[in-house]
Symmetry: C2
Subunit: 347 residues, 2 copies
Amino acid sequence: MRIALDAMGGDHAPGPIVTGAVDAVRELPDLTVVLVGDQERIEAELAQAGEIDRDRLPIVHASQVIGMEEKPVVALRSKRDNSISKCWGLMAAGEVSAVVSAGHTGAMVASSLMNAKMFLPGVRRPGIAAIFPSHRGPIVIIDVGANMNAKAEDLYSYGIMGSIYAENVLGIEEPKIGLLNVGSEEDKGNDLTKTTRALFQNGPHADRFIGNVEGRDIYEGHARVIVCEGFVGNVLLKAGEGAVEFLFAALKQELGKLLPELGPEAGHKLAGSFKALKTRFEYQEFGGGPLLGLRGACIICHGSSGARAIKNALRVARTMADEKVNTQFATQLKAALDLIPPAASEG
Amino acid sequence: MRIALDAMGGDHAPGPIVTGAVDAVRELPDLTVVLVGDQERIEAELAQAGEIDRDRLPIVHASQVIGMEEKPVVALRSKRDNSISKCWGLMAAGEVSAVVSAGHTGAMVASSLMNAKMFLPGVRRPGIAAIFPSHRGPIVIIDVGANMNAKAEDLYSYGIMGSIYAENVLGIEEPKIGLLNVGSEEDKGNDLTKTTRALFQNGPHADRFIGNVEGRDIYEGHARVIVCEGFVGNVLLKAGEGAVEFLFAALKQELGKLLPELGPEAGHKLAGSFKALKTRFEYQEFGGGPLLGLRGACIICHGSSGARAIKNALRVARTMADEKVNTQFATQLKAALDLIPPAASEG
């Protein structure tokens, strides 16, 4: 399995990105990671990595990087030799089975859109899934920002693809699918949710579809795949991160007041608990969110990804790019989309 | 000041609702609370309240209650003698200056919509604001679910009204207004956010408008008023509650493991910290969220409101219904809406 890794994407690239690739290649004997980016800087990082199998860490030079603050389409057009476009180029040419990047999410999506031949049949626009924690384990929320003009058929295909991902990549048995909405009753929501609901109820995954899911139910984990429109999903994802940060800051403040009273030993134990708690809310375990709707795999990582997140993203991308999983995406999606009557897709 | 209180609304009504009214009347000498609901049950609660000024706690009998699971419009039509409609009837007749309820939010909004004469001039549809915590103090997020088909002019009016509320009721000086979006750049988002943004930039509150606010910035508190469409706001509000509950459950679990090691004294101190932390995230302080866009005040409380939340809601409703505040709503809103060119309102 060959995976293209954008070595220049991420807040601290290329250091931890290259380290993540080295760790992944050491752990997974069948993996080759194509490091895409500034050859000289990547070589310098590899030189510090100790003994490695350089044949499984080839470099494809890219002289440009798209900065986090750049406008995706403008940047992709003006910087022809950027690392993100080069990764997708390798994918389109069939030289790799997956793309992984912790770089500019908008540029990753926009670049994937430029080659519709890479889309799975019937997919109008790919969606980004995010992995959230819940009382019952990880859940998939899709779309978290790839598509700002979703139609009901898009959301429907996201649900199908999200459930294949949950089952085959995250290992969740028969994951239930829910539709994010403002109430549990059938007639709640807007035109988009009503049309989407009908598609699920009449589709081949009707038995997995549990109907509307409200914001407060997300963390219960009854639905392991939650479908929503990209604007809502993006706000939800970022607000969730913000809420966790805010709460941890408040927690630190409260416990900080206690520490002098409790003494150093208790303080040490508390710090341990605190750390254990924090890892529960970390994205690093899953490496990042998959871009679903393409032939082949793509994981978009958090900009602040460290080596561990990158290594895990490569591991997840490898599972996702497996031929069996890819066949499922294609066949199940086709079966589901074939059932949509032409008129029903006007969400 | 006379305020109508839906004594039957809320998970534990009428007990804590009536207690909240009694406490408010004791604390605020100029306040009369009209208790709307089952006369017999309210009398029974009042009988347990000790010495009270019954003249300032009159009862208006309503024989029916709208249950939390009922469909608002159907319920309002079939239960003509319900407590929510009776509260709004008192408001429409000018007998009270404000309505407070912890009952069915959808029924509260739907019932208010039935009498457009109660709307402030130019308001097409009222919006519900929720009060969120932030690093810089309370912030107002509007709309959190009253309007599922918002146009740009609705969001614009929510921003103006939210800022008057933040300033006059919450006491925030010159509150900045932000537009909830998927990125900070000007061209981010969908048609609705783009049109709304233009209205703010050209309106009388342009100096207060700080542009786009992403999900993760909410809790920073740079914007003290955050404007969004009702579907997004509703998901945000409920997901925020869910996230806080989830995090507290995880925190309890982690600290629970530590308690046997730390001993009872440290456990006691930790429990105190835990409680202090939890109150930071409670809605009780602000009583509930205002329904903005009406002549007169309305506070919609959380279904699980206790006596303290109800008392605070009555206090906040009293401030909101003040004549000076109401005049501001009317005049500032008119000045802002008058500036919209007819074509710009097609969001």
